[in-house]
Amino acid sequence: MTAAIEVNAVQKHFGNVSIIRDLNLSVAKGERHAIIGPNGAGKSTTFNLISGHLKPSSGEIRLNGGVISGLRPFEINRRGLSRSFQVTNVFARMTVWENVRCAVLWATGHRYAFWKNVDHLPEVKQRTAEILDDIHLSHRRDVPAGLLTYAEQRELEIGITIAGGANVIMLDEPTAGMSHAETERAVALIRRLTEGRTLVIVEHDMSVVFGLADRISVLVYGHIIASGTPEEIRANPKVREAYLGEEGH
């Protein structure tokens, strides 16, 4: 079976500074895969490379078997990969409803249509309502996204990411800055919404990582030093030395 995401020998440097050195990563279809690593290890850069926000200096990235390295973000999105952002990245002046609806429009085939009334598209309306219900924001549908609480914005961020129906979902620190209770809620949400899809997640909170992930990859200085099940990662001496050991303090 082809992997959902395959990263082969990818390098990324900015000038002389090498951020990603020989990155190899394989995420199977339907897997929940967490990428962990110390600050500055290149986790967000990895996300940006896979989602097309940055172009690799060399190497190749495949999505469901097809090469996507070098494509623009919207081209990659149309091929079935959707990502969220570490810093909340919503449409601040538009309402919650409109935020989600915009994310539904391309996938429902309405594209750049200027001859259809957006309020009279039943499948768009239904899907938007479903997503809002999924992320528990139905009661806030008419509030401008910029006025939501932080936790609500994070949930909306996830809603926008999944709304297009992509089969590969990448979440960049979805619970960053959340309280303990909010984190639990968010994890349950992510678990439910990514059911049957492939999930790649970057996360600092180890309880989230070990509670959610089927497999974990450990990124240190732009290189993956270990990849395996949570048990294997816990037991891996290299990982303990490079990363988990620090966390223990």
Binding site: S51, G52, R72, P73, F74, N77, R78, S82, R83, F85, N89, V90, F91, A92, R93, M94, E98, R101, C102, A103, L105, W106, A107, H110, R111, Y112, A113, F114, W115, K116, N117, V118, D119, L121, K125, Q126, A129, E130, L132, D133, H136, S138, H139, R141, V143, P144, L147, I160, T161, A163, G164
Partner: protein
Amino acid sequence: MSDAATTTSDMPKEQSGSSARFYSIWLIAAIALIVLPLIFSSGGSLTSFSLIGIAIIFALSYNILLGQTGLLSFGHAVHYGLGGFIAVHAMNAVANYNWPLPLPFIPLIGGIGGVAFAILVGWVMTKRAGTVFAMISLGIGELVASSSLILRSMFGGEAGITTDRTALPHMFGWTFGPQLQVYYLIAFWVMISAIAMYALTRTPLGRICNAVRDNPERVEFIGYDPHVVRYLAYGFAGFFAGIAGGLAAINFEIANSAYLGATQSGLVLFAAFIGGAAYFFGPILGAILVTYLQLGLTNLTTVWQLYFGIIFIGIVMFAPGGIAGLLMMHRPLIRAGSLGMVIPSYLMAAIPTLALALGVILSIETVARYTASEGEGNIINLLGIPFNATAPVTWIVAALLVVGGFLVARLTWRRVAEAWDRAATVARDRGYLA
């Protein structure tokens, strides 16, 4: 789950209610446009209404860029002007060759001219938003404006190109000679264009334009190419600007280089911003105000551009949402019934603020009369009161009004802020304000 059920079942009801209100607004607008010249039937007001109609279409077209897509253009008059020139050439050709094209269709040809140029230059222009787009639009504007003085067969040089709107085939027995008939032609196109531009905001493309305005980076991750979105928006803006230009050509029976210059581009930006770019109807208010200011101030004072500048700076600093933003601020208070709490403070603040404004006007006028236009004598009229620009008492009155007005106004505006806080708290308690 019950949550979703109520939301979905609520929606049709909510929508039919708002659509009834929606159609009644357009109906009222159409009736207003029809009866307006019956109430104000003087030649002067007909001319003003015609100019306002053209300005409304132009300002709304500009707002497809500024308010809807977040593109700040300094060269929008290019499409207005080219639409005007194409329309004039079309009118002359129709008259010369006896083509069966009645005058009411000419604005459409202007629109085609506007969109054709937008298609030509838009792809490169809209590659980037922000400063890059603003600078390129400025460059294109200057390029076309200077070309208009060089390419004489197309633009007619300094004199421009004239035409005769009555020489075209008549429609319904209308010759379009009288200004009243031209007014109704313009009013017709105002309705059509405004409805079309409003409808555009309600389409998938229109919604994504807003998304591109708010966050072009994120748009790329929901499947859209922001460049294409901006390009399409630019095309529509060019089309409706061309319609406005075509109407101007019909109205004035001439197209000249002033149509597509930087002044015209500045005025439309001014109208959209003062009116309030964040709301669809904002530019309509702005177009009405700017046209009246232009017509009124030029008769009253030689330094009318100075007042334009002061108004613009005032709006940018104190009401960045424009007139529409100021009006819409009060909506939650009206709904919550707490508007009455702020009105007295407004009335109180109005008196010293007006005194301040009068002081500023008196200062400007005395200085202008004293330095720039001495030949016109020393007497200036303000509210029917004659002031001698050289008399010390005039200067003292002006200074007193400015300083006194400012000091008192500052106190009263503080009262306005307090009253506003109380009224907003009431609105918030009653759930009309987030």
